[in-house]
Symmetry: C2
Subunit: 406 residues, 2 copies
Amino acid sequence: MALIVQKYGGTSVGSVERIQEVAKKVIQYRKDGHDIVVVVSAMSGETNRLLALAKEINPDPRGRELDVLLSTGEQVTIALLSMTLEQMGMPAQSYTGSQVKILTDDAHNKARIMQIDDEKMRQDLSDGKVVVVAGFQGCDEQGNITTLGRGGSDTTAVALAAALKADECQIYTDVDGVYTTDPRVVPEARRLDHITFEEMLEMASLGAKVLQIRSVEFAGKYNVPLRVLSSFTEGGGTLITSEESSMEQALISGIAFNRDEAKLTILGVPDQPGVAHKILGPIAKQNIEVDMIIQNTGHDATTDFTFTVHRNDYQTALNLLKETSVSLGAREVTGDEHIAKISLVGVGMRSHAGIASTMFETLAEENINISMISTSEIKISVVVNEKYLELSVRALHKAFELEHCN
Amino acid sequence: MALIVQKYGGTSVGSVERIQEVAKKVIQYRKDGHDIVVVVSAMSGETNRLLALAKEINPDPRGRELDVLLSTGEQVTIALLSMTLEQMGMPAQSYTGSQVKILTDDAHNKARIMQIDDEKMRQDLSDGKVVVVAGFQGCDEQGNITTLGRGGSDTTAVALAAALKADECQIYTDVDGVYTTDPRVVPEARRLDHITFEEMLEMASLGAKVLQIRSVEFAGKYNVPLRVLSSFTEGGGTLITSEESSMEQALISGIAFNRDEAKLTILGVPDQPGVAHKILGPIAKQNIEVDMIIQNTGHDATTDFTFTVHRNDYQTALNLLKETSVSLGAREVTGDEHIAKISLVGVGMRSHAGIASTMFETLAEENINISMISTSEIKISVVVNEKYLELSVRALHKAFELEHCN
């Protein structure tokens, strides 16, 4: 008998019928002898409906009042799911974030959880009830309703699991797990039974949009085993834990990629201390996030400097860079919006050499030119021309035999 | 400068445009120098939408979960109204019932207010903010969300006014005040500038459906001046207070009527102690409410007994009465579904004789037969054939010159 926290997203509770399916799943777990705490989102479409009402009134409503409004979405779901469970003969008890209570800071619309009171939940569980908690919300010390921001229900689930020292936190979504790469690009992509928090963070931040990064970080920090499953199909999903030392640890867990970025290069910059700051300072001031950064020492007393930003920020960044170029006396500024970033992710890299060279060899065999390379302990990322994205991912997937369980 | 509690019902906040109208009204009062606490209902249709969702799941959902669900309706409105006020440059602060907090007992769906904490509201008012409170809801000592039952927002407003010792509690609705009688029956009916709590209670319970009886009782108990006004038209509405001693106190304030009732009579019952209980006991056991009760001593050792019930309960009551008739050895049971009850209401009756006789004379002149008469300190009610309802009301309205300010 385990204590399991389950989280169901908006599409999983999008209608009375869907809510009934969720209730059946919950009851099955109860029958198997587990204690269950369920975290739910607003019914799909509801948050957008409420946001539209708010925007009709005030394009920039005060955070406090927006949270009062938006938090009603999850409150409706907890009531409906509890009623459904009770209708099916399963005692249940619902809680809003304020009722639990999930104490947050007072940063409305993007609050952070400070503390969770588990007393009521423990009492209900020991009374044999299913506990149903509104995701995405909490309250600050003054009792003001707060929300955690979009996707915050995942974070609520992980935080509850941590507070309750749950055996597992299950995130039900519309995919059945984490794959070695996007199956739309590589049909042979395989669902991973297991992945580490670190790998998941690299996969998620690199474009495998399964879980909110924040909830994975949270789960890693508190070492809460996290499982991604489908609400709509059967299967064990993917378990995300901190265990790295299984006997047959895979070398590479997966290949993440994105085409959200653009590349900017400033050539022939005088190679002096502080030049990186002079180049990136104006970019940062405009709140533009920089991802990869590469500096090559040049031939003479100059250096070349390349970095990537989100494509939406490309034009702004390019204009800033041109201004900087003039003041620095650089030779030239170039840019490219048509790039793709591909990353091999795997904790196995730590102990295995030669992965980078296999990666470069594979791409060379396909005549794909690499324009940037960046490495970390468990990841190698390359930037290539966008048109080679699919080809690169397929070739790498095959080269590292990711279609096989290894 | 006064402290005013205003309550706006569902149709008054039924759309973004309506909410903007409410905000303008509130801001005007602020500009006139008053402190304002606003109580709002759910947007019209919202409570029914939520109820329908609940019924789809569970025809008899647990009260606690139903309250969690229904309370979101007002929560949406407080957020939207606060945003609107702020958009118009007026600082505002919203509160759910739990946040204020409005402490109730734990009778879900029909909770009673026990205590109200006015600390946050007073602080906000002294900070120059408009306070916006969700009607209809509160929370019990354990922090469970409760609702006061339909129409409970009026009660919330009065309770807040009492707690804050407000100068006036204004109930905005879709009528512009309390009339001497229903203007659809008597076009000359006049809006009353002033009426007492007692009169209002008699008017309301007798069919003038302007205010929830419960909120009038509450206002009377705590002596909160209550004003009924229209959200949609200008005008001073009707003020309801305990003052009875104005110089020109009207003799009769109004004429209430209804055709919701049916009459049952048991004839020739042996006139013994306890007979009323034997007749009404079985009726009460079926939770049927009895309104008027009249017993006439008969000629011999028997008595006749007549009472009225709601028309919906007529058949059930008639069947019960027939069974009682057999066991009591009564002579006959008769009934009439086609009756109307007409009531003259006025505190002036206390000090003026002759009102009943004027009433009977007026009806006699129209050849209208009275089948039941019942009197209280400030009310005389008669039952007549339903078909004479309009004629009776018009004749009485004229006889007591209610169309004139008197």
